[in-house]
Amino acid sequence: MRIARTELYAGRMLLLGLMAITILPFISIFVTALHPSGTLPRGLEWPADPQWGNFVEAFNVANMTALLGSSGYIVLAVVPVALVISTMAGFAIGQLRIPGSRILLGLFVFGLTLPFGGIIVPLYYLERALGIYNTRLAVVLPLIGLYMPFAVFWMRAHFVNMPIEISEAARVDGATIWDLFWRIHLPLARAPMASLGILMSVWTWNQFLLALVLVEDPTERTMAGALGAFQGHYATNVPLLCAGTILILLPTLIVFVLFQRQIISALLQGSVKG
């Protein structure tokens, strides 16, 4: 391959510049978080006396222990259920190809385009009527529903590419549909299920609008939802706000670094297949 050396360097410099623009905001809030609480520091100035205690203070004033519990609870309630039911649906639509599966698929795909804002108002009144408003279920149940378009679509894309011969061979051997799903196809679907699970966990953690509208008590919300309330209280205390923001986005960064391959491929493939 012939690429001029100058072009090689120019290209890499440009990419380095973009990486710097991406990273700099994180560095800036990190440095800001180390300044004395209540001061208004300048952009990238390293503090004379780094206040590591700001993280502890943010942890306490944001009631982070309760928040971690609440977010953990919501993630654990949403993700396994969403994973199981979307896998079953994806299996029936993609592998069994039940009658009406094209229409079902279209119905789910339609949901991919739906802005949350389009349904948030009725959700509020629906939940009041169902008596789940202002509980954790208020976020859990709609999230499961809202994930179905992407999740079913994603699992269907896996099952539709599994050779139908696997199923036929099993059926000739007398396997029931349940056997087929449970013993044969589920073990083969572990990888796409894992990616989907990770993705839905991050989305749940980051969910803001539903938590804001449907749960009044910030400590019962998702992490991102609580961050909104935290901002409301500490908008003027910039170092503390930055410390709180770092605490809340840290888990997503850790998950991303650990599972970046699954997350990136799931997000990309999920949208490409859409």
Binding site: G11, I93, G117, V172, I177, W178, N206, L209, L249
Partner: protein
């Protein structure tokens, strides 16, 4: 949930094993039975989707024809809420604002992403490229609320952006970007660029790696410049991926809520108000459910109308 699982299990366990002979004798009956079992597999997902997404959507449409404060009786007003939304410059303005956001959330990340991805494809192979992709993708995984708060601080008067501007001798242009009537919307849009550029870049880069390397090799043997490669190979052959990027980012722009809510809350004035914010304000602070729902229906329709052409682009590309 477990109850439903055992129910399905029972149905399928009771079913006689299906040897080829029974299938031949009563094919219709077996097929019907299997269709029912298949539908039972879809049912839980369908129910959750129907109750918590489709039903609220229908309720939005219903509410949009009524005057209602959320508590008292509902009064039928026909298309009144729609004409109100379309006549009120503040409400209609939110739609124009979100269309302007499309430029920042969609056109800039997609076109810039194409350029960056092709540069990455040519010059950043191996480890450097992998690190670059991870870093550029980062903003996509953090909560949008966090992105809004981070940039709210960076774009503030004492924030990093103004400091950089002062350092390079542009003190005259420094301002509180998010509090400026003219600059607040582009500033919010810039946050969107920061969040979405990495996603588009990596997606488009992945598309490029799937193209036949021989295409690039022969072009490069002929000494093709980056620009020739870009216009002759990359853009025409990545139509599918470009369509996907446009779809995802246009939805992100029109459905924007989190970033706007925490960075400007729609202000100053109404200069960054988008439909998501306006729906929230109308319904939950002003208790005007009718106009809020009409705006919600218009927003939903708008998303569909704008992205359907992109889907056609995809289909043509795959055919």
């Amino acid at each position: 949930m477990p109850a439903r699982l055992t129910m399905t299990m029972k149905t399928s366990d009771n079913r006689p094993a299906a040897p080829a002979s029974s299938r031949q004798t009563t094919p219709n009956k077996v097929a019907r039975r299997e269709a029912i079992i298949g539908w039972l597999f879809v049912l839980p997902a369908l129910v959750m989707y129907a109750v918590f997404v489709l039903l609220p959507l229908l309720m939005s449409i219903q509410y949009s024809f009524f005057r209602w404060n959320g508590i008292g009786p509902m009064t039928w007003v026909g298309l009144d809420n729609y004409s109100r939304v379309l006549a009120d410059s503040d409400l209609l303005g939110t739609i124009f604002n979100s269309l302007r956001l499309v430029v920042f959330f969609s056109f800039i990340p997609v076109s810039l992403g194409l350029v960056v991805a092709s540069i990455m494809h040519r010059t950043a192979t191996g480890r450097f490229g992998a690190v670059a992709r991870t870093v550029l993708f980062l903003p996509q995984v953090i909560p949008l609320v966090a992105a809004g708060i981070i940039w709210g601080w960076l774009l503030a008067l004492p924030g990093l952006i103004n400091e950089v501007l002062r350092a390079i001798g542009l003190s005259d242009v420094t301002r509180a970007w998010l509090g400026d009537f003219d600059w607040a919307l582009p500033a919010v849009g810039f946050i969107g660029v920061w969040v979405l550029l990495g996603f588009c870049t990596v997606l488009l880069w992945t598309g490029m790696t799937k193209l036949d390397p021989a295409l690039f090799e022969s072009a490069r043997i002929d000494g093709a410049s980056w620009f020739t490669e870009f216009t002759r190979i990359i853009v025409p052959l990545l139509r599918n991926e470009i369509g996907v990027c446009l779809t995802v980012t246009v939805i992100a722009a029109l459905a924007a809520f989190d970033i706007v809510y925490v960075s400007t809350a729609g202000g100053p004035g109404n200069s960054t108000a988008v439909p998501g914010i306006q729906i929230y304000v109308l319904a939950f602070t002003e208790q005007r459910i009718g106009p809020a729902s009409a705006l919600a229906v218009i927003l939903t329709a708008l998303v569909l109308i704008i992205i359907i052409p992109f889907q056609r682009l995809n289909r043509e590309a795959t055919q």
